[in-house]
C-alpha cells in the first residue's frame, strides 16, 4: 500500500478516564510531531467526559506479541494454582486480619 510518498506519522492514543485507572487505548491519529499529536488527541478523543491524562505513542514504537507467541506466553498460566489464595488451606479459626 505504501508508496514512496511522505505522510504524517501514525500515533496511538491512550486515555486515562479517572484517577487511579490505567491508560486505555482509544484509537489512533496522524500528526507530524509529538505536540501536534498530543493536541490532536485532546481535540479528537477528549471531547466528552473529563479525562485526566493522555498518552500518545508512535504506533511503530509499540512492540506487540503475535498470535504465534500466544500459546507459549499465556496458555499455562491457569495450571499454576499455587499462585492463587484458594490453593492454601487455613484453619477456619485462623481468620484474616
Amino acid at each position: 500500500m505504501t508508496s514512496g510518498k511522505v505522510v504524517d506519522s501514525l500515533w496511538e492514543v491512550f486515555l486515562q478516564e479517572k484517577n487511579n485507572s490505567g491508560h486505555v487505548h482509544v484509537g489512533s491519529l496522524r500528526a507530524s510531531g509529538s505536540e501536534e499529536a498530543l493536541q490532536a488527541a485532546r481535540d479528537v478523543y477528549a471531547r466528552r467526559g473529563s479525562p485526566i491524562s493522555i498518552w500518545v505513542v508512535l504506533s511503530e514504537s509499540i512492540v506487540a506479541s503475535t498470535p504465534a507467541d500466544a500459546p507459549s506466553f499465556f496458555d499455562p498460566k491457569d495450571a499454576k494454582s499455587f499462585r492463587y489464595p484458594n490453593y492454601y488451606k487455613v484453619p477456619r479459626t485462623l481468620k484474616d486480619a
Binding site: T2, V7, L10, L29, A31, S32, A64
Partner: protein, 317 residues
C-alpha cells in the same frame, strides 16, 4: 501451520464469536473486504459532513447553531476513528482518501442528495442518523475487533444526533404552517433515499452472504431495512407527518410495516455518479484535501528542523 489449518483455525474462531485482532492471521479476502467496507464507512462520515455543514452558518438560533456544529464535528471524529480502524489492517489513510478523491471508492449514496432547507437538517438527524444507527448497532458485534470497538464508540456518541434531529422535526411540525410544510417536504424528499441506504435487496447484494458468514455483517440489507421502517413509521405518526408511500401497510400477522417498491434505478445511477451532488461533494473534499497539502508539508518540515536541531545539540554536548 499450513494455509488450510490457518483457515480452519480462523473459521473456528469466527464460529466461537472470538474477535479477530490486527496481528492475527486472517484470509486475505477478509482483510480486503474489511478495508473496503471500513473505508467506505469512513468516507461516508466525512462526505456526510457536507450536506449538514451547509446549514451551520444559517442555523436559526444560537442553540441550534451550537448543536449542529457539535454534531457535524462528531462526524469528522467518526471518520477519523474509522480510518484508524482501517489502518490497523495495513491500509493507509492517505491512500484510502486518494481513492475516494480519484473516484475509485464509494460512500453512502444518501449524501449525494442536496440539503436545501432547514427541514433537511431535521430529517437527516432523525432518519439518516437513525438508519446509520440501525446499521452501526449491528456492526458493534462485528468479528473484527477494531471495527467493532470503533462502532461502540460511535454509537455512544451518535445518540444525541438522532435526538437533535427529532427535536428539530417536532418543533417544525408544531410550528407555523410554513414550518410544517418544510418538515413534510423534507420527509417527502429523504424517505426513499434513506431506505436505499441499507443497500440493494438481498438477492442482488454482491458481498452480503460472505460478510455474514464472517460475522462482519450480522444481518442482511433487507432485515436491517425492515428494522428501520418499523422504527420510523410510528415516529412519523407521532410527529404528525405523512410518509410518502401510499402502499405502506402493516402486516397484521407479523406486525411489520411493509413498504411499496423502491426505485432501485435511482440508487444505481447515484452509485454510478449521476446523483444531484456527486460531483460537488467530491470536488469539495478534493479542495480541502489538496488545498491543505501545504499545511501538512509545513508541519512535517518544521518537525524535521526540530529533529535536526536536537541532534546538533546532542552532538555539541
Amino acid at each position: 501451520m499450513t494455509e488450510a489449518s490457518r483457515q480452519f483455525d480462523f473459521e473456528g474462531r469466527i464460529a466461537r464469536d472470538e474477535k479477530i485482532e490486527p496481528n492475527d492471521w486472517m484470509p486475505s479476502r477478509y482483510r480486503r473486504q474489511l478495508v473496503r467496507m471500513i473505508s467506505q464507512h469512513a468516507h461516508s462520515e466525512v462526505v456526510g459532513m457536507l450536506p449538514e455543514g451547509n446549514w451551520i452558518t444559517r442555523a436559526p438560533s444560537l442553540r441550534r447553531k451550537i448543536s449542529l456544529l457539535a454534531k457535524v464535528q462528531d462526524e469528522a471524529g467518526h471518520g477519523l476513528y474509522l480510518y484508524g480502524a482501517a489502518e490497523t489492517l495495513g491500509a493507509e489513510r492517505e491512500d484510502l482518501i486518494n481513492r475516494l478523491l480519484g473516484g475509485d471508492a464509494r460512500y453512502s449514496s444518501i449524501f449525494n442528495y442536496p440539503s436545501v432547507t432547514w427541514g433537511d437538517v431535521g430529517v437527516i438527524g432523525w432518519l439518516v442518523d437513525q438508519a446509520a444507527m440501525v446499521n452501526q448497532t449491528m456492526l458493534t458485534k462485528c468479528s473484527y475487533g477494531p471495527y467493532a470497538r470503533a462502532m461502540i464508540q460511535i454509537c455512544k456518541e451518535e445518540n444525541f444526533h438522532k435526538r437533535q434531529g427529532m427535536e428539530i422535526m417536532a418543533v417544525l411540525s408544531a410550528g407555523t404552517s410554513a414550518q410544517r410544510a418544510m418538515a413534510q417536504d423534507a420527509l417527502d424528499r429523504w424517505w426513499w433515499p434513506t431506505l436505499m441506504m441499507f443497500g440493494p435487496p438481498d438477492e442482488e447484494s454482491p458481498h452480503s452472504s460472505e460478510l455474514i458468514g464472517w460475522k462482519v455483517k450480522m444481518k442482511s440489507n433487507d432485515e436491517l431495512r425492515q428494522w428501520f421502517v418499523d422504527l420510523a413509521v410510528p415516529q412519523a405518526e407521532a410527529l404528525d407527518l405523512q410518509i410518502p408511500d401510499p402502499e405502506l401497510v402493516r402486516d397484521s400477522k407479523t406486525g411489520h410495516w411493509i413498504s411499496g417498491p423502491i426505485n432501485w434505478d435511482e440508487f444505481r445511477s447515484i452509485l454510478e455518479g449521476e446523483g444531484p451532488c456527486n460531483r460537488e461533494r467530491i470536488e469539495s473534499r478534493r479542495e480541502s484535501h489538496f488545498g491543505g497539502a501545504w499545511v501538512r508539508e509545513a508541519a512535517r518540515a518544521y518537525e524535521e528542523k526540530c529533529r535536526k536541531k536536537k541532534a546538533l545539540e546532542r552532538e555539541s554536548l
